[in-house]
Each structure stands twice: as structure tokens, then as C-alpha cells.
């Protein structure tokens, strides 16, 4: 019975974390979908968001919820700058060139962060209590992260479906040449999408801090780059919605397998959960290479 309760608790926790994972991958998928660029420096932007939340809280006592719009704005500005300085010249370049450029940008940001903020792990704790369920206790901070992720993803969805600019982004994704014949300024859409993608990524970094109380560091992003890649592929790579749903699935698998692996004597579950995630990824790629929700 204790085991079932623990599994349920972990799955619940997995769904909550999964929503944040999903949001943290939407930016990667958006940038890939529109520009066909793989942002291998993804995690570095999450790190910027994490530090934003940390400093706002530590210096000014600003709650992470209020840091969200700030991180989004900062991310969009950084995104435009990176687009104009680097990416714009590489849009039609071979894939390897953009891959290397994004890799270099990631390293540049990490090293700059290390110079400015040092290499130590830091963290903060935002105490707002917790809710008691029959089988577990969930801190409100995690519920805040969960609800924020869903609301933000929904807002992005509505923006894409209903606004003129959102529809123009979709048109460019579906057919660049077709978009040109409609009078859409494709370069502007590229800049906007890149900026939005980086903005969402930095923003998700704020929410990530609610799960890693002492895990903020210049190099923290690597793990998220890796997870975001797995999630993006699960979700079909080019679709921000696919990424969001896949984030849920990934969170469930990660936390569910943690409980199950703990049952095996002599196994250290924490180290193996990542292995399980990659096994799932490989199975999906073998059985449905367009991603779990891809295929459109």
C-alpha cells in the first residue's frame, strides 16, 4: 500500500515537474520549427532565468511569480540581440555552422555568468507553505510552477491561433515561400520567433528554480539541454504543443520509473532514471520516428 501511495505521489510530482519541462522545451521547438536551427545552447538561457529569479528574490525580495514577466522581457531582448548579431547571417548557412554558433553562444553565456556570478552553487527558498493530500504533501511553490506553466503555454497557444502575427509565424513554419508570396516579411518573423523562443526559455528558468532549491550555477543548463532534446524529439521536434505534452510524459516517466526502480534491491534509482528516459526515447524513435505526437 505504501508503495502504491508513493507511486501516486511520484506521478503527481512528475506531472507537476513535467509541465515545467514542457514549458522549458517550447522555446527550443519554436526556434527549430520556424528557423530550422537547433539551439544546442538552450540550457544556458534557462540558467539566465534561474539567476534572474535568484537575484530578484535575494536582493529585492521579489517573488519568482513576479520575476516571470521580467525574465520573459530580458529573454526576448537577449534573443533579438543574438538573432541580429549572429543568427541572421546564418539562416541559410549549412546546419553545422548554426549548430557550432549556438554551441559557442551557450558557452559564451555560461563563461560570462561564471565571471559575473562565480562558480558556486546558490539557491533561495521561497516559503509559502504546502498543501496536504491524503498520501503526500505538495509545497505551494510547486503548484505555482505547475499552474504558471499551463497558463503560459495556453497563452502562447492562443497567441498562435488567434493573432495575426501568430498566424504569420505558423504560415512561415508551414511554407516559407508561400508566406513570402502573401507579403509576410519572413526576416521579421524569424527575429520575432527567435526572440520569443529565447524569452520562453529564460522564463522557464525562473520556474526551474522552484524545483532545485540549491542548484543554481553557471553550468546548471547542461542537464536541461539534454532533457529538452529528449522531450522535443518525443514531441515531434518542430511543434511547441507537442513539446508541452511530451514534457508531461517525460515528467511522468522520470518520476514513475524512479519509484519502480527503487523496488529493485541494490539499485540506486536516481542514477538510472536518466537511463530509462533515454530508453523510452530510443523506443519512440524506433516505433514512431516523427515523435509521439508528431506526424502532421
Amino acid at each position: 500500500m505504501a508503495f502504491v501511495e508513493q507511486l501516486i505521489a511520484n506521478l503527481l510530482y512528475g506531472a507537476i515537474l513535467g509541465a515545467v519541462y514542457g514549458l522549458a522545451t517550447m522555446g527550443l521547438s519554436l526556434i527549430f520549427g520556424v528557423l530550422r536551427i537547433v539551439n544546442v545552447g538552450h540550457g544556458a538561457f534557462i540558467m539566465i532565468g534561474a539567476f534572474t529569479a535568484y537575484w530578484m528574490f535575494t536582493l529585492y525580495g521579489i517573488s519568482p511569480v513576479l520575476s516571470l514577466p521580467l525574465a520573459m522581457a530580458a529573454g526576448m531582448i537577449i534573443g533579438v540581440a543574438v538573432y541580429l548579431v549572429v543568427v541572421k547571417r546564418l539562416v541559410d548557412a549549412p546546419e553545422l555552422a548554426t549548430l557550432l554558433a549556438m554551441f559557442a553562444i551557450g558557452i559564451f553565456i555560461e563563461e560570462a555568468a561564471k565571471q559575473i556570478w562565480g562558480a558556486n552553487y546558490v539557491g533561495y527558498s521561497w516559503e509559502i507553505g504546502s498543501i496536504s493530500l491524503p498520501f503526500t504533501e505538495i509545497p505551494y511553490t510547486k503548484l505555482v510552477a505547475f499552474i504558471s506553466s499551463i497558463l503560459i503555454a495556453a497563452a502562447v497557444y492562443v497567441w498562435f491561433r488567434k493573432t495575426k502575427l501568430g498566424k504569420a509565424v505558423r504560415a512561415v513554419v508551414e511554407d516559407r515561400e508561400g508566406a513570402l508570396t502573401c507579403g509576410i516579411d519572413v526576416n521579421k518573423i524569424y527575429a520575432l520567433s527567435f526572440s520569443l523562443g529565447i524569452g520562453l526559455t529564460v522564463l522557464s528558468g525562473v520556474l526551474v528554480t522552484l524545483f532545485t532549491p540549491v542548484g543554481i550555477n553557471a553550468y546548471m543548463g547542461g542537464e536541461y539541454t539534454l532533457k529538452a532534446f529528449v522531450i522535443a524529439v518525443l514531441g515531434g521536434l518542430a511543434s511547441p504543443w507537442g513539446a508541452f505534452y511530451a514534457g508531461f510524459i517525460f515528467g511522468l516517466i522520470e518520476n514513475g520509473s524512479y519509484t519502480l526502480l527503487g523496488l529493485i534491491p541494490g539499485v540506486e534509482p536516481f542514477g538510472l532514471t536518466r537511463f530509462v528516459s533515454f530508453v523510452v526515447l530510443m523506443l519512440v524513435l524506433l516505433l514512431k520516428p516523427t515523435g509521439l505526437l508528431g506526424g502532421e
Partner: protein, 234 residues
């Protein structure tokens, strides 16, 4: 209306156009004929600005538009119906049309433009809510033309609208092009379907290996035995 002089362009290092000269008169249908790989699509893409011209000039109603990006040309009233249609496959027919009216100038006329294209293509009205990717080839071609009309153009560049269509539909497409001319539009058409396109054209050019080999009124092209044998394969 459109004057193209000594236009050169290509892909990467490979030059495709070697000094193309074309004149398109207002409210006419001008056709560019030529074998596969002659550079017909390249000519239209370079005029529209999807490809950067290497040298030469493109003039539209007296204005030099050689290096103007495509979205600005659409603003001026030029658009392209590209080879292979390039629709938005996961959007509905209606949304494809609305995307055509993206720019302010076209958006202001959205309702009128929709009326016009639905009158021209009643079949699209019936399939309004259907995804563009699920239309038949002929319907997709109609949608491509209709989407171009939504931009409120004066000059339409059309790249092989009859490609891959059954003979009956080919006829329908050419009749539509003629109707557009009667509506006051100017059309620069690229075709391999020699007979059908000469039937509706006022002027014709023959493009051969990236150069204009011959140009003139349709009657002149028809009469030139040489042209027939060498380029049109008639």
C-alpha cells in the same frame, strides 16, 4: 508595366540567367515558354525577389524594384503563384485565403476579395473549412491562384499553373487566367503547355539556356517556323 533588363542570377556559384530581357504590358498576358531547366522559374523568382539578382534591373511602373524584398513587392501589387503551389497545408482553405490578405492594403479589402475568389472558384467556397493539404491537385492550384488574388495584385507572376493537372482542369485554369486579364490584371505566365498558353497570350518569349531566344506577339511566335522547330518541339 514591368521591364526586365539584362537580368542575371543563379544558385550559389552556378549562374542560370545570362541577361534576360522582358517587357510586360499592362493588362496583357505575357508567356515565357521554354524547355525544362531553361530558367523559367528562376526568372520569376528573381523578378519577385526570392532570389537576389546578380546584375541587371527590374522596373515596375517606372520604379526600380531590382533589389526590393518580396514583401515590399506584394505591397506594390506584385505577387507570385509559385511552381508547386506552396500552400499552407495544415491551414484551412479559408485561412490560406486570409493569409493572402496579410498586408494592410489587402486586409482592408478582405471581404471584397473573398467574394471575388469565391465567385471565380465556387469549389473553394464549398471546401472553406477543409485543410488545404487534403484538396485535390486541381483544387490546390485554384487555391494558390485565389490566395495570390487575395493580395489585391496588379501583376501576377504565375509559374506553370497547369502542371500535373488533367486536360479538363488545364483548360479550366487557362480560362481562369483569361478571366483575370478581363478583370484588369496583368499576368506574366511561365508555361510548358505551348498550345494552350499561346491561345490566351498576347505576347510570348522563348527562354533558352538562361537567355531570351525570341520574343514578340503571339502571332509572330506562331508564324516563326524556326522557333517552332527549335524550341517549342511542335
Amino acid at each position: 508595366m514591368l521591364t526586365v533588363r539584362e537580368l542575371e542570377s543563379g544558385y550559389g556559384e552556378m549562374q542560370v540567367l545570362w541577361g534576360v530581357n522582358l517587357d510586360v504590358r499592362e493588362k496583357s498576358i505575357t508567356t515565357v515558354l521554354g524547355p525544362n531547366g531553361a530558367g523559367k522559374s528562376t526568372t520569376l523568382k528573381t523578378i519577385f525577389g526570392i532570389l537576389k539578382p546578380w546584375s541587371g534591373t527590374v522596373e515596375y511602373i517606372g520604379e526600380n524594384v531590382t533589389n526590393m524584398p518580396p514583401h515590399k513587392k506584394v505591397e506594390l501589387g506584385i505577387t507570385l503563384v509559385p511552381e508547386g503551389r506552396h500552400l499552407f497545408p495544415n491551414m484551412t482553405v479559408e485561412d490560406n485565403l486570409i493569409m493572402g490578405a496579410y498586408l494592410k492594403r489587402a486586409e482592408d479589402r478582405l471581404e471584397d476579395s473573398l467574394d471575388l475568389v469565391y465567385t471565380l472558384f465556387p469549389r473553394l467556397k464549398e471546401r472553406e473549412k477543409q485543410k488545404a493539404g487534403t484538396l485535390s491537385g486541381g483544387e490546390q492550384q485554384m487555391l494558390a491562384i485565389a490566395r495570390a488574388l487575395m493580395t489585391s495584385p496588379n501583376l501576377i507572376l504565375m509559374d506553370e499553373p497547369s502542371q500535373g493537372l488533367a486536360p479538363k482542369l488545364v483548360k479550366e485554369v487557362f480560362e481562369t487566367v483569361l478571366k483575370l486579364k478581363e478583370e484588369g490584371l496583368t499576368i506574366l505566365l511561365v508555361e510548358q503547355n505551348v498550345f494552350a498558353s499561346l491561345e490566351i497570350s498576347d505576347y510570348a518569349y522563348v527562354l533558352h539556356e538562361g537567355k531570351i531566344a525570341f520574343g514578340g506577339s503571339v502571332d509572330e511566335v506562331r508564324e516563326s517556323e524556326e522557333i517552332k522547330k527549335a524550341y517549342l518541339g511542335v
